[in-house]
């Protein structure tokens, strides 16, 4: 009963021609905003990806791009604001308050809804991270506006409304969703779905500060501790330039070594399909796909992965896909650029060896001279 099952045609019939009929109040809503997700001094890269996307939308609408930065008063929060300008923000709404030190739903929801109600954006984008999804749902409900989750494409229509496209039914279908009569039009977007815009050194621009009237005593939820993931800096799958992945076709956890060996030879990250995680061969943070990570590497090499739609939606952004599969009809070949119909257990070692020869500094120097 959530958005997607809604059939397109009857919805259209029920809504006349489905043109936006904005009330005068909502007509005041202008500009494209991005929530800049910042925790422990680090801005989540998805926020910059969204600034890049916001720029494109804002140019079409002829409006400005703004970033919203929330955090504890201090250097880290200010740095986040400064970075937002380098990735294309024209304005930054800055809310500094000690209660915003760690992410918590109550104060962040209050901060965001207050800023939105005061400055009235027409579009508000957030990363579809655990933080972004937690916050977006509460903010949208409080504002009683529409929210489209996990979008893969954003576009502005002829009548200037936002068309947000997202996969549904496990990626078998895509649908384009509009928030016609309410503002802001909200959407969350997964990390790595939008391209990272270039960073341009820029001075700090216009900052509008917002004061949050909330005392710690009035906030019920307390953060007792934060336990960082032990290997979090090791598996950087989503942001790796080269990814090697394996699936059930490898047959056994031992054979997965072949994937890891190739990955380590070329300095790539390794990942896998979902059943590999379900079998316990690898941990969940290595899973690529709809319910795992979306990746956008320059090169994706996958071996023994059939290419089910739920896997494909996670890798379609790769610049180049090399697929190894014994079945020439495997769906992975529909999106691969280079295909090898052969046994991965033989192909992977041959490829690893070839890379090793090609990349060994010794050989390179010889080639150069």
């Amino acid at each position: 009963m959530t958005q997607p099952p809604k059939p397109a045609a009857p919805a259209a019939a029920g809504r006349g021609n489905m043109k936006a009929e904005l009330s005068d109040h909502f007509k005041q809503y202008k500009h494209v905003w991005v929530f800049i997700e910042q925790e422990r001094g680090v801005v989540h890269p998805v926020s910059f990806e969204l600034l890049g996307e916001a720029r494109k939308l804002a140019d079409k609408l002829g409006v400005e791009v703004a970033g919203v930065v929330c955090g504890a008063p201090g250097e880290a929060t200010k740095m986040a604001a400064a970075e937002a300008f380098c990735y294309g923000a024209d304005v930054v709404y800055l809310c500094e308050d000690p209660v915003l030190e760690h992410y918590r739903n109550e104060p962040y929801t209050k901060a965001m809804t207050d800023i939105v109600n005061t400055y009235k954006p027409e579009i508000l984008l957030l990363g579809a991270t655990t933080l972004g999804r937690d916050l977006a749902g509460s903010v949208a409900t409080t504002l009683a506006t529409g929210l489209t989750a996990d979008c893969t494409e954003l576009a502005v229509d002829a009548d200037k409304s936002l068309g947000a496209t997202r996969p549904t039914f496990g990626g078998s279908l895509l649908c384009t969703i509009y928030t016609l009569n309410y503002r802001p039009q909200m959407a969350t977007i997964r990390p790595r779905v939008m391209a990272m815009p270039p960073r341009v050194d820029k001075p700090i621009g216009r900052i509008i500060e917002h004061r949050l009237d909330m005392a710690e005593d009035n906030i019920i939820t307390k953060v007792l501790a934060f336990l960082p993931d032990r290997d979090s800096n090791k598996s950087n799958l989503a942001y790796a330039d080269v990814v090697v992945a394996g699936g059930m076709g490898l047959g056994s956890p031992e054979n997965f070594q072949l994937v890891k060996r190739l990955a380590s030879t070329i300095g790539a990250e390794y990942g896998c399909s979902r059943p590999v995680v379900q079998k316990g061969w690898l941990t969940a943070d290595r899973q690529i796909g709809q319910t795992g990570k979306t990746i956008r590497p320059k090169l994706y090499i996958c071996a023994g992965i059939s290419g089910a739609i739920q896997h494909r939606v996670g890798v379609e952004g790769a610049d180049m896909i090399v697929a190894i599969n014994t079945d020439k009809n495997a769906p992975i070949f529909e999106i691969a650029h280079v295909g090898i119909v052969a046994d991965a257990l033989k192909v992977l070692p041959a490829l690893t060896e070839a890379f090793r020869r090609r990349l060994s500094p010794h050989n390179r120097d010889k080639l150069a001279s």
Partner: protein, 287 residues
């Protein structure tokens, strides 16, 4: 203690087909299941009930046939099932869905006692939004704990709860006041198999069926299509890539010839990758 668990009946997405011409979902023959993410919530609720006593009520909003899923939940050991079903709910988006569910939970509180915890799954596999949980929390003014991976100390008398919550790059340990809404992370437990006694009880149990009015919904404009700010304008199948893959054969060459040819093909198409890899190889060698 009283716990409400929201579950949704969904088509098994592994078996979904799209009609090649009309681009609509072909539901023919597609079995429906309880949204797999909701089972983690249900199992967690059952464990808390087994430990602290009390009752678990499962709630779903959906068509009459969603009763199957509720009965299934009863088989696992839930104590009561409520089906919220009304044609006014058709076409609900997440805002309208959470409005209807929140109102029904308020009504459940009046009839069967106020819940200390409302559980939802992390997200559904059809809607896939993860928005309904937060939406319910906001409307009922419950504190919201999303992506919970572990429930720690639960103090019913003191009215407090401690949980571990998955956050970006780590786990947050949070303490808050009851009542709360928890969206449960997947993989946190394994659904039990109900006993023969539960199974027989479930087969005979009466599923409570409420229409909008029964659930205490007065403002119909907040339901269904009318209550949904979002509108689906277009549904379409993902387009495949138009250019076909270049195939490199393996069997007719030595591994060395094959490897070189493949690496060449990769570098030819992606020169940037070659530079990256060489840089990496040099750093690696220097190191």
């Amino acid at each position: 203690m009283h716990i409400v668990v929201c579950i949704k009946q969904v088509p098994d997405s592994a078996q979904i087909r799209v009609h090649p011409v009309t681009n609509t979902i072909m539901r023919q023959g597609v079995p429906t299941i309880i949204n797999p993410y909701d089972l983690f919530a249900l199992e967690e609720a059952l464990r808390l009930r087994d430990k602290f006593g009390g009752e678990v009520t499962v709630l779903t909003m959906g068509p009459p046939m969603a009763e199957d899923s509720l009965r299934r939940a009863l088989t696992y050991g839930a104590d009561r099932a409520v089906l919220l079903t009304d044609r006014f709910f058709a076409g609900s988006d997440t805002l309208a869905t959470s409005f209807a569910l929140a109102t029904a939970i308020a009504r459940i509180s009046e009839v069967y006692g106020k819940p200390e915890i409302v559980f939802t799954g992390k997200q559904t596999i059809d809607g896939d939004t993860a928005q309904v949980g937060p939406g319910i929390a906001k409307r009922l003014d419950l504190l919201q704990l999303t992506y919970v991976s572990k429930i720690g100390k639960l103090d019913l008398d003191g009215g407090s709860i401690e949980v571990e919550r998955r956050a970006e790059g780590g786990v947050q340990v949070l303490k808050t006041r009851l009542p709360v809404l928890i969206t449960m992370l997947e993989g946190t437990n394994d659904m039990r198999r109900g006993s023969m006694k539960d199974a027989l009880r479930a087969a005979r149990a009466e599923v409570v069926k409420w229409g909008a009015k029964d659930a205490g919904i007065e403002d119909m404009t907040k339901c269904g299509l009318r209550g949904s700010p979002t509108v689906v304008k277009r549904v379409f199948a993902p387009g495949g890539r138009t250019d076909k893959a270049e195939f490199i054969t393996f069997t007719d060459k030595t591994p060395i010839e094959f490897g070189d040819e493949l690496v060449e093909a990769i570098f030819k198409r992606q020169p940037a990758v070659e530079d990256d890899l060489i840089k990496h190889a040099h750093e690696f060698a220097a190191y």
